[in-house]
Symmetry: C2
Subunit: 457 residues, 2 copies
C-alpha cells in the first residue's frame, strides 16, 4: 500500500454496525429469524443493538437517512428513523460507541444542522459522526417546495459550501470560551466567540453558533459518494468513506485512488479510512449459509425488485422476463443515473457475470448493491482479512441481513477470529469516535489563527 | 368562568417544569446554591431533573429554543441546548413525563420538523409536545442567509401555513397502515398512506411522511404568543398556552379572552389549557425567601440588564441612572417592538408601579418578565390556587430561579400542599402527554374522510 501510512504493526481494522429497520436484506422482515415487526419502531430495539455493538467494541453505529418515503415501502421495511432523535436516545443507553447520523446538505440549513450535531456530540461525550450526503432521491425535492431535485453537480457545489459554513460554526466558540467565573460574573468570554460571516457561492451564515464547542470539536466526517464529484469531495473532507464494491479488485482500485487523491491535497492518507459495506450470511457450514441466503431471496417480491431495477438501470421488465438475460442494450447510460457510482456497480455485475434478471435481482436484494457473502465464520473473517491486508479496506460497515440475529452471530463468531488474528481491538482505548478512528481533535480555526498571530514572547 | 367547561369536581391543575440551563434567574449560575457550571452541558443533569419532575408527576418538561446566540451570553447562562437531541436523551431516562420542544416555524422546513416530532413521539411512547414559535430574535435571520427578519404578520402567515402542512404530514399514514403481514409480504398498505400535496400561500409540501403515524398522532400543540396575532393563532391551534402575567387581573383577562376566542371558533375551551409562567423563591419564612431573591438580584450585572432593557423598551440608559425613575417618555412604542406582548407587560409594570430603573431591572432578571414570587410553601401554593380557582390559570409553567434546587424545594414542599387540597395528581393516570393534559388523540384527517365517505352497510 504505497498510500498507507499507518504502522502495520499497530494498524487495526474498524467496524461499524449499519443499522437499518428490519435488516439490510429487503425481505428480512418476513423471515422467521427476524423479530416481530412491531419492534421496528421501539427505541429499545435499537438501544439493545447498540449496546451489543458496544460490547463487541465496534467503532460506531451508523444510521442511513433520506427526507422522502421510499416507493418500495409497500414490500420492504423502508420507513425512516430520524437519526438525531433516534441516536440521542441510543446515546443515553451507551457509553463509548460512536453514533453516525446521515444528514443531507441539500435539504437542511447549515445553522440547524450544526446545532444538531454539536448537541449530539455534547450529550454523547464526543461520539458524533456525520455521514454527509447530498440526497439521491429526486422525490425529496417536492417535500421541500422545489419542482425539481438539483442536479448532481449543483448538489455537490452546495455540499462544499455547506461544509465550509458548518465548519466555521463549529469553530465559532473557541475551546475554553465558556468561562463561568462566578466571582467576576463573566459567563462566556465573548472575545473568544466569533461571528463567522460565511458568504459562499450559495450560502450565507453569520453565526456564531449558540452552544459551546463540543467534545470532538466537530463530528467525524463520513462520506459515501463514489462518483467523480463524490471522490473529490471525500478526498478533501472525509475522515471515513463508506463505499460499495463487489470485487476485491474494484475495492483496491477505489482504495488506492481515494488515498492518492487525499495525499495530493496534502492530507495524511492514513486519516481517511476506507470502509466498504459487507452483508454476511453466517452459518456453521458454507452450504447452510447459502441455504439461508437463498431462503431470504425467495421471500423477495419480484414486483418490488423490478421497480428497484428500473430505478437503478432505467430498464422496465415484467415478471415473465425474470429468467432471461438482463437486456444490456436497454440500460440507459446517460444523464444523472449514468453518473452514479451505484449504476456503474450494477452495470459491472451485468457485464462480468451475465446473470439472469432473477439472479441480478437477488444480488441487489441483499444490501442494495453492497457485497453479500455467505459462509462460515472463518470464511467471513478470511474475506475481511484479505480486503484489509490487500489494500481494499481499513475496516467495514457491517450490514447484517437481518437484525438483531445477523449481528449477534457476527459478534459472537467472526469478531473473536479477527481478535485472535490481532486485527481488531478487544476493548476500547478511547472514549470518542475520533479516538476509535485514530483521528486527532481539530483546533478551532479562530483559535489557531489567534495563536499564529500572537507575538512570540 | 363562563368559558370553563371542565367539571370542577374532577378538574386538576397541570404543571410543567420549564428547564433553562443555569435556571431562570439570570444570575443564578453565580450563586452558591447552583451546581458547578460545568454540569450545564452534561446530559445527566437534565435527565436527573426530568426524573425528579416525573417522580413529582409533573405533566411535562419544557425546553425553550432559538436559532441564534443571545447577546447576553457574556453574563448569563444563555447558550442553547438543541431541544430534539436533548429531549430524546431525556426520553430515554424517563417513562411518563411529557417532553415539550420549542421549534420555530420561521427557520425550519415543515418536512424536517414533522419528522423530528414524529420520531420524538415514537421513541418516547407518545410524550411529545411542540411549543410553536415564530422566533422573535431578529439576529436569527442572518444565520439563515436572510438580510432581514420577516415582520410579525409575515411570520404568523408562515406559521399558519406551516401548521396546515405539518398537520397533513402527521396524518399522511393512517393508523394501521403499517401492516407487516409476513405471509403476503405486504409491509405497508400504501392505499392508507397519502401524498398530502399541500400548496399554501408560502409553502408547498408533497409528502407523505417517511415514518408511520406516531402514538399521539401528532405532538400536543403548545403556543406562547400573546399579541393579537398570537392569540388568534392560539385560539385556532393551541392545546396549551404558555403566557406571562404579573397580576391576577391581567391573567384573568387573558384567560377569558383566549377561552372565548376558542369557543367562537367552535372549539371546546376546556381543551385549550392556559399555563402562566411562575418563578418561585421558596423558604421557610417569607423574609428568608425575599432575602434569597435579593441575593440573586445583587448578583446581576447592570451592563447586561441595561442591554436587556434597551431590547425590550428601546431605552438606552447608563449605570449612573439606575436609581432614578424609568423615563416613560423615552420608551419607543412604535414598530415591531410595540406589537409584542412582552413590551406591553413591561410597560404595565412601569406605569403601575413606577419603579426605579434598578427595581425594574431586578423584576426582569427573575424570569424575563414572567411572574416571580417569594414566600413560604403555603404562600406559593396559595398563589397558585388563587389563580387556578379565580379564572387565570389551568396550571403553570414552573420556572425555578435556580436548578436543580429551586425545583426540588417546589416538588418537596409546594406539591404536597397542592395534593392535600385536591388540586394536583399524586400519580399519573395516563402514559402520554395528551392523556396528562386530558386531550383526545386525533384521528388522521385522511382516515376520517375515508370513514365519512364509506357507504353505510
Amino acid at each position: 500500500m504505497s498510500a498507507q501510512s499507518a504502522d502495520p504493526r499497530t494498524r487495526q481494522l474498524h467496524l461499524n454496525l449499519f443499522v437499518y429497520p428490519g435488516g439490510h436484506h429487503e425481505a428480512a422482515w418476513r423471515h422467521s429469524v427476524s423479530p416481530d415487526p412491531d419492534r421496528l419502531l421501539d427505541i429499545r430495539f435499537y438501544q439493545d443493538l447498540a449496546r451489543a455493538a458496544e460490547l463487541a467494541a465496534f467503532d460506531g453505529v451508523f444510521f442511513a437517512d433520506g427526507p422522502a418515503l421510499a416507493d418500495n415501502v409497500r414490500y420492504a421495511s423502508r420507513f425512516r428513523l430520524e437519526p438525531f432523535t433516534w441516536l440521542s436516545a441510543v446515546a443515553a443507553a451507551t457509553e463509548r460507541i460512536g453514533l453516525i447520523a446521515t444528514a443531507s446538505t441539500t435539504y437542511t440549513e447549515p445553522y440547524n444542522l450544526a446545532r444538531l450535531f454539536a448537541s449530539l456530540d455534547h450529550l454523547s461525550g464526543g461520539r458524533a459522526g456525520w455521514n454527509i450526503v447530498t440526497t439521491g432521491a429526486p422525490q425529496a425535492a417536492r417535500n421541500f417546495g422545489l419542482d425539481a431535485h438539483p442536479v448532481h453537480a449543483e448538489r455537490y457545489e452546495r455540499a462544499r459550501d455547506f461544509l465550509e459554513a458548518v465548519g466555521k460554526l463549529w469553530d465559532s466558540w473557541e475551546d475554553g470560551a465558556l468561562v463561568a467565573d462566578r466571582r467576576s460574573g463573566l459567563f462566556a468570554d465573548t472575545d473568544r466567540i466569533h461571528t463567522v460571516d460565511h458568504e459562499g457561492p450559495l450560502l450565507k451564515v453569520r453565526g456564531p453558533l449558540n452552544i459551546p464547542r463540543s467534545p470532538q470539536g466537530r463530528p467525524v466526517y463520513v462520506q459515501a459518494g463514489s462518483s467523480e464529484d463524490g471522490r473529490a469531495f471525500a478526498a478533501r473532507y472525509a475522515e471515513a468513506v463508506f463505499t460499495a464494491h463487489q470485487t476485491l479488485r474494484s475495492g483496491q482500485e477505489f482504495y488506492a485512488d481515494i488515498k492518492q487523491r487525499a495525499a495530493r491535497l496534502g492530507r495524511d492518507p492514513g486519516k481517511l479510512l476506507v470502509l466498504p459495506g459487507i452483508s454476511p450470511f453466517i452459518a456453521s457450514t458454507e452450504s447452510e449459509a447459502r441455504r439461508l441466503h437463498q431462503e431470504f431471496n425467495e421471500l423477495t417480491q419480484p414486483e418490488y425488485s423490478l421497480e428497484l431495477l428500473h430505478r437503478l438501470l432505467g430498464v422496465r421488465l415484467t415478471q415473465g422476463e425474470l429468467d432471461g438475460p438482463v437486456p444490456r442494450e436497454l440500460i440507459e447510460t446517460g444523464g444523472e443515473r449514468g453518473n452514479g457510482s451505484r449504476f456503474q456497480l450494477v452495470l459491472d455485475i451485468v457485464e462480468r457475470e451475465q446473470p439472469t434478471v432473477r439472479e441480478l435481482l437477488h444480488r441487489l436484494a441483499g444490501a442494495r448493491g453492497h457485497r453479500v457473502i455467505a459462509g462460515t465464520p472463518e470464511q467471513v473473517a478470511g474475506q475481511l482479512q484479505q480486503w484489509y491486508e490487500q489494500g481494499a479496506a481499513d475496516g467495514f460497515n457491517v450490514m447484517p441481513p437481518w437484525l438483531p440475529g445477523g449481528f449477534d452471530v457476527f459478534a459472537a463468531q467472526v469478531v473473536p477470529i479477527l481478535r485472535e488474528r490481532g486485527l481488531f481491538r478487544s476493548e476500547y482505548e478511547g472514549g470518542t469516535l475520533r479516538e476509535h478512528y485514530g483521528l486527532a481533535r481539530p483546533l478551532s480555526r479562530y483559535e489557531a489563527a489567534r495563536s499564529a498571530a500572537a507575538p512570540v514572547a
